[in-house]
């Protein structure tokens, strides 16, 4: 709904409802928000399909969303706002009616006591002044509009009197809850006057037109009632040396709009000439003999002048003001932050890829580490055991073909070990044989693993079996081949979970991890 193409109208209470409902939606989890809005979107699309596929324009879509999305309590609040705004409009009309009635009644009453009513004064006060006020209010709006399209930082203001100042008075008349809701709108205006300033300004302008229309209506009503229930005597006078002819031309020109419809409401030259009066005549105080028929002949003209020049323009401007308010509100609704995304949520398929359930418990690494020994310590322990030259004094088990014998001896710097394979392609029975071999022999046991592979439960099972077989006294060392510091720490933590105080880790220096494949392949080939 681009602003240029926007012809739809909305009510200010709908804008307030939208802001409140968006706030309410923002409080929901994003995924839930998207799901709920898409459900509404699908329901609307289903309705549209029933209408022959006619797609809703954005404002209609927003209205449908507003009909479905807000909670019951929010609907109640919105309804209160709607009623309050309607009451404010009624109040504006009532105030105008009262003022118009009071002004016309006061003027006519005062003049009645003065015997004659100055028709010029009536025209000025009851017709010309309201018409001038109308022009001023239009100029105010035009100025504000001009300012709005100006540079950044320009503030909308009506000849300096900002709508916000007027709106404070309007707010004071509202119930507390409604006031808070409306202040969400007005508060946003205060933040930047960016989006809702035009709505606020046009709302104030519309209210002022309701007052103006009420004023003109009250004036007309009071005049008619005075005409009906009192005997009004109109006349005109001037100190200037003015002939009746130009005055007649002037009033006849004024009466042009209604002359074809009501000729009797066009003052005749005779009426103009005969109703001119002077306070003094021929040097003596003038005593008037009022001819009620003649002097009352001005009333149709006055009534029509009020109706045509005060009331009708007001009603026209009021209709225009309400129309522009509706458009401004519609534009503000469309441009409200979050509406783009709301429309997208309504119209776009809901694509879900994430897990429905929250992540459950994840595996935690043990808190401790098995001790790490260095190669010198391990060799010293092995050497202390003595033994004949060339005879193995300990056992080595290579897990899953992690390394071949020669490479292992080279890295350990000794070949005094009996080396066996386990894990990998070996069967469980072969694993059991290795355990039995170790149990039958003596000396420490070294289990060689590739540290870049994770410690599997299968290996931990094997180590458990091995410990049970060799007894608690013999040293069991896990040689960590390759891998990085993080891998080694991971292994030491996992081994700690065995709860075996006689187990230690030995990081074997050797080829970098990138070369490990070659070592492993060589090991695999060798077996």
């Amino acid at each position: 709904m681009d602003a240029g193409r926007l012809n739809s109208r909305a009510r200010p209470d709908e804008l307030v409802a939208l802001l409140l409902a968006l706030d309410e939606r923002d409080g929901q989890e994003a995924r839930e928000r998207r799901r709920l809005d898409r459900e509404i979107g699908l329901a609307v699309a289903g309705t549209a399909a029933g209408r022959g596929g006619k797609v809703d324009e954005p404002l209609a879509l927003l209205r449908r969303w507003l009909a479905a999305a807000p909670s019951a309590s929010l609907r109640g609040r919105v309804e209160r706002v709607r009623r309050s705004l309607a009451r404010l409009r009624g109040l504006a009309l009532g105030v105008g009616l009262f003022l118009g009635w009071a002004a016309a009644a006061a003027l006519l009453q005062i003049e009645v006591h003065a015997d004659r009513i100055n028709i010029v004064l009536c025209l000025v006060l009851l017709v010309a002044l309201p018409a001038a006020m109308l022009v001023v209010s239009l100029a105010t709006l035009a100025w504000a509009r001009f300012r709005e399209d100006g540079a950044v930082g320009a503030r909308a203001g009506g000849l300096g009197l900002r709508a916000a100042a007027l709106s404070r008075a309007a707010r004071a008349m509202l119930p507390l809850g409604v006031r808070e809701d409306l202040e969400r709108l007005l508060g946003r205006v205060a933040v930047g006057e960016r989006l809702y300033g035009d709505v606020q300004r046009r709302q104030i302008f519309a209210w002022s037109q309701w007052i103006g229309a009420g004023f003109a209506g009250g004036t007309l009503l009071a005049t008619l009632l005075f005409v009906v229930f009192t005997d009004l005597a109109f006349g005109w006078s001037t100190t200037l040396d003015v002939d009746a002819a130009p005055v007649h031309r002037f009033v006849r020109a004024l009466a042009t709009p209604w002359a074809p419809l009501w000729p009797a409401a066009v003052p005749s030259f005779d009426l103009v000439e005969s109703t001119r009066h002077f306070r003094v005549s021929d040097g003596a105080p003038h005593v008037h003999v009022i001819d009620p028929i003649r002097y009352g002949g001005w009333w149709p003209f006055l009534v029509m002048a009020i109706a045509v020049y005060a009331l009708a323009p007001r009603l026209l401007v009021l209709a225009w003001a309400e129309h522009r308010l509706g458009r401004a509100t519609s534009i503000a609704m469309r441009r409200t932050p979050g509406v783009d995304r709301l429309l997208e949520r309504l119209a776009s398929p809901l694509v879900e890829t994430r897990a429905d359930e929250a992540e459950g418990a994840t595996g935690r690494a043990p808190d401790g580490l098995v001790p790490e020994i260095d190669l010198a310590t391990w060799r010293r322990d092995l050497g202390d055991r003595g033994g004949e030259a060339g005879q193995p004094v300990g056992h080595a088990i290579v897990w899953a073909e992690a390394i071949d014998d020669e490479a292992l001896f080279a890295r350990l710097g000794t070949d005094a070990l009996r080396v066996r394979d386990a894990g990998g392609r070996r069967s469980l029975a072969e694993d059991a044989e290795r355990v039995a071999d170790c149990a039958a022999g003596e000396g420490p046991v070294l289990v060689c693993v590739r540290a870049y592979e994770p410690p599997m439960l299968e290996l931990l099972d094997f180590l458990g079996d091995l410990r049970r077989a060799i007894g608690p006294e013999r040293r069991l060392t896990i040689a960590l081949l390759e891998g990085d510091v993080a891998d080694h720490a991971g292994w030491r933590r996992k081994l700690f979970s065995l709860g075996d105080p006689g187990i230690a880790a030995l990081v074997l220096p050797g080829a970098a991890q990138g070369d490990a494949g070659g070592v492993a392949d060589a090991a695999g080939d060798a077996r």
Partner: protein, 478 residues
């Protein structure tokens, strides 16, 4: 919203710590997936259903890794030998393994990962191409073969690609389809191709997978559009940003300059931070932590003074009122002279009235009514007028957005925006010119006005095009 019964299910299985969860997080665009350096992070299967408007199109199942594969295989082989089962009975034996009393306690990981396969899921077997092939993988691949489910292997090179070739050769013996996908850095196209490969695994899977891909592509396009909208909003707000302080008629605004400057920068920083969070939310990177240098300051003097008046009056308003009043007064003279003055009265009156209104603003500010001043001095900082200012902001926002668009949901490292900002390619000449024009319009017209709205729409289009181009060669490379 009903779920199709025949929607494909894919169980992501393999050795522990080989990137199964990373691959799932990337494919499901779910940054809540538990990913850790320690093996055995995943204890239970977790399902990631892909739905479009509630219709299930496929499901990814993340599983724990094999822990005792040889024991499981040994049980299966022993049972097959004992019962004289043929190859046709192997899938039934795997199901029997799950039903065997005590297995759920003894083989919890294997039971978790085999259950979806027995239930009809396809196999997505993940290995690490950064480490050498080892014989310990063969038992688990053999078990998977026993399930008889359609399978696909993914080589996920964690860190290095040294052994991808070896793995391809080994996996080809067990799997019909083998793909190399870096789970941490897979771009959208790579993910799309992998999904297409899923669709080829079994008859009837292609249609839902192709629909899923189309929905994912459309969703991604909408997200790029939403990100472009966020960037536009951020730049427009930053361009209009200013902070003001109303002072008394006799107060000197100058001492407030530093405070206002600090407030201005703080609000700009918060604006940028809010913008980044919004972009992260759109792209589903809620947990992301980013490092970035604060905005370097381009201008030293954005401070200005003005006059404020009650009722929102401004100097210009007073000048306008004065001009109208003066012109009206002059007009009376023109009328009195029967037009012989050729409207000189109106012109002179308007000029004099306007000037008096302009000059009278300060005097009015000093006026006190009911002991309240009618106005005073106004200290203001901003908005920025520097030509480069919006380009700097745009560059940072573009870098952030492009980085997140390229970033998979499997990554858990912090983002260093400064590094990526340096690697970001410059805007081409046409983009620079278009943006320069649109920035000028955003500055010129008041926010909320139709022209400002049109300029915002134009900037959004330009930004969207730039982000789409960036997506092809984003600043963050694997």
């Amino acid at each position: 919203m009903s779920e199709a019964v025949a929607a494909p299910r894919l169980a992501v299985v393999g050795h522990p710590n080989k990137g199964k969860s990373s691959l799932v997080a990337t494919l499901a665009e779910d940054d809540s997936v538990g990913i850790g350096p320690n093996p055995g992070t995943t204890l239970r299967t977790r399902e990631y259903p892909m739905r479009v408007d509630g219709e299930l199109l496929y499901t990814l199942v993340d599983t724990p890794g094999f822990q005792r594969a040889r024991r499981v295989l040994a049980w299966l082989e022993e049972r097959a030998e004992a019962s004289g089962a043929t190859a046709a009975d192997r899938a039934r034996l795997v199901a029997a393994f799950l039903d065997e009393p005590g297995h759920a306690e003894r083989f919890p990981d294997e039971c978790e990962l085999l259950r979806p396969l027995v239930g009809g899921a396809g196999i997505l077997y993940v290995v690490d191409g950064g480490v050498p092939y080892g014989p310990e993988y063969e038992a688990e691949m053999e078990i998977l073969r026993w399930t008889g489910r359609p399978s696909l292997a993914v080589i996920n090179p964690i860190g290095r690609r040294d052994h991808v070739g070896d793995w391809e050769a080994a996996l080809a013996q067990f799997f019909r389809v083998v793909r190399v996908v870096d789970a941490l850095h897979a771009d959208f196209e790579t993910r799309r191709r992998l999904l297409l490969a899923f669709g080829e695994l079994e008859t009837g899977w292609r249609a839902p997978i192709e629909r899923a891909i189309a929905a994912l592509e459309a969703s991604r396009a909408r997200r790029i559009e939403a990100v472009a909208g966020e960037i536009t909003r951020f730049i427009a707000e930053a361009l209009a940003l200013s902070v003001e302080k109303r002072l008394g008629p006799d107060e000197d605004p100058a001492p407030h300059a530093d405070v206002l400057a600090a407030q201005y920068r703080d609000r700009l920083a918060r604006l940028e931070s809010r913008h980044r969070r919004a972009v992260q939310a759109i792209l589903g990177h809620r947990e992301l932590e980013a490092d970035a240098r604060a905005l370097e300051w381009l201008e030293s003097d954005l401070f200005s003074e003005d006059t404020w008046l009650r009722f929102g009056l401004r100097r210009r308003d007073l000048a306008a009122v004065g001009a109208v009043g003066g012109a009206a007064t002059g007009g009376v003279l023109d009328v009195a002279l029967g037009g012989a003055s050729f409207l000189i009265g109106s012109l002179v009156g308007g000029a004099v009235g306007g000037a008096l209104g302009l000059l009278g603003a300060d005097r009015l500010a000093e006026l006190r009514i009911v002991d309240r001043p009618m106005g005073g001095r106004l200290a203001r900082y901003g908005p920025s007028r520097n030509v480069n200012f919006p380009f700097v902001l745009f560059g940072r926002a573009r870098c952030h957005a492009s980085l997140l668009l390229a970033r998979t949901h499997a990554r858990r490292d912090r983002v260093d925006l400064d590094v990526d900002l340096e690697r970001q390619g410059p805007l081409d000449g046409a983009d620079q010119r278009s943006l320069s024009a649109v920035f000028a319009r955003l500055r010129r017209f008041a926010p909320g006005s139709s022209r400002h709205h049109e300029a915002s729409a134009e900037m959004m289009r330009i930004t969207q095009a730039i982000l789409r181009r960036d997506e092809g060669g984003g600043p963050e490379s694997p």
